[in-house]
Subunit: 328 residues, 2 copies
């Protein structure tokens, strides 16, 4: 019989879902970035839980403060993708024996920092003894019905855009773990992107308000994976005509003789938003993001072909359906 | 510097709380059975997270299905104490490598069974790889403001009552783990109480509706601990005049030469409700519980003395402030 390491995270979630009774009239389908419950009066309670585990999500060199903050950011990023403001959060904290008061203070302070950065408060939680550090966050917020942007909804002809450039965190991990080479100013930026990730909350809220977005997802499982997720649930395809490469990654790739597309498309642990936008509202969306201090970058368009293609300099290739996955 | 095993669960929670910015106008104070957010219009969003960890919360002999169901019941019991109906829940599931498809199906099915038993649905979650099985549940519900019963609010003169009898689960654990002796019919009941705990949701909802309850808590950390918690936050004392001993426990204690009070007061892992009731509404409260098929048992009264005393057969002794605690 197949075990967790062969099954992989996504198959495991599928097996669990198959056991569950489906709530009638779910406002958000299983597997989207968040879950929701209809409060009536045109409002949704929006909920999200995501777990950070020491051995898989906390690279060597990341402090406990940073790990705790990251656990919050991971969750906020999913709310950002859906255009929902996080209001309060709970923390379920599994601690290994032997953590000191100072360690626990660092965790508490990191959790609080992550929450306050995005205007939310921690209002409760639980703790227990585990072998690895385990920080499971539950976020709560309220959304107007119809303003929550799903993964489903992209239409052929829509533009595809991203809120930032990619490849920094997978390059940063190579600097931290594999001692890859980079000049100090570049390696600092790359490592910082791993240690201090940010959620694009203001961008996500502005995009949702603009009414220009037809589908959205947070990119933490990798750009390629996100595109395939929207493809799968929206039943469309993509033609990507520009790889959104961070400038530090360009230098890093040259120095270390790496493949840019690999770092940008399949890296993961990057908390950008990937959105599809109605073409006639493109400038409205771009302006909405600019107004909150962000930048929306056009990378291609939605097609009806059910495949995800990359076409650059006349060459075309298939973007594979793979990305970061636990248990692999 | 002190480590987790010296600090203990409650001190750890205190250290974390000290790091947090307090949300203004919190409807429910830190440390109560649930947390809440004011939705306006007289309504509260009620949230709870509680984590089940394999090595501390799943005794040998408990199946994965039972462990998953228990993780849900633990959380529902806290909602029950506050008189709030759980609507939906999320699951953050940490799985050790090497779990099979069948294992994961058992977990999914157990989670669903726990949720459906209490009318709730699982609407989302997350999974990751951990060394121990870790099931972190987040519950969501909506309560009318003023109907949520806090730990704070007990007044001298109030009656103290419980929704069931105690000592079964600590006796059951002794049967399962220490091979303590008991006739088959008794040991079956004791072990069942460990493997298939139930939350007193109907009782809790009825009590909250009755308007008779001044304070309430779920007894999962042990009866003694609960009384001391209400004492601490309500600034009162207790005189307990009847130990609510389950009849199977009476036989079990005799056969194994054990201390009844120890099992009943300090056992933990028992999901009864401990409530304080306005004396003039005692019969209303009792009748409300009877109508939903339960039984409210009077065990003593609230005093102004700030201590928790047990007086039985003319003898008086102090009930200590101890109970089940992780990291100990």
């Amino acid at each position: 019989m197949k075990k967790t390491d062969v099954l992989g995270e996504r198959k495991i979630i599928e097996i669990i879902q198959d056991q569950l009774d489906l709530m009638p009239r779910m406002p958000v389908p299983f597997g989207d970035d968040v879950s929701a419950y209809d409060l009536g009066n045109g409002k949704l309670a929006v909920l999200k839980t995501d777990m950070l585990v020491g051995k898989t999500d906390v690279p060597k060199g990341m402090s406990l403060w940073q790990a705790a903050r990251k656990a919050v950011v991971m969750n906020v990023s999913d709310f950002a993708a859906k255009g929902v403001k996080p209001l309060v959060l709970l923390v379920s904290l599994g601690l290994p024996a032997g953590f000191s008061k100072k360690d626990i203070e660092a965790i508490g302070d990191g959790l609080n920092a992550g929450a306050r950065e995005y205007g939310a408060y921690i209002i409760g939680g639980d703790t227990g003894e585990t072998s690895d550090l385990t920080v499971s966050i539950s976020l709560f917020g309220v959304a107007k019905k119809g303003q929550l942007v799903l993964r489903m909804g992209a239409e052929p002809g829509d533009f595809v855009a991203v809120t930032g450039l990619f490849g920094k965190s997978s390059s940063g991990l190579r600097v931290m773990l594999d001692k890859a080479n980079a000049p100090e100013d570049i390696s600092e930026v790359l490592v910082e992107s791993v240690l201090m990730p940010c959620a694009r909350l203001q961008e996500g809220l502005a995009l949702s308000k603009s009414g220009a977005v037809t589908a959205a997802i947070d990119s933490s499982d990798g750009l390629a994976w996100c595109l395939h997720e929207i493809r799968r649930v929206s039943n469309v395809g993509f033609l990507i005509e520009r790889l959104p490469v961070a400038k530090e990654v360009k230098s890093f790739v040259r120095i270390n003789d790496l493949d840019t597309a690999e770092l940008v498309l399949y890296g993961g642990e990057e908390y950008e938003l990937v959105v599809t936008v109605k073409p006639r509202l493109w400038f409205k969306a771009k302006e909405a993001v600019r107004k909150v201090g962000g930048k929306l970058t056009l990378i291609g368009k939605v097609t009806s072909k059910k495949e995800v293609l990359l076409r650059i300099g006349g060459k075309e290739c298939v973007i594979e359906s793979r990305g970061y996955e636990h248990f692999r």
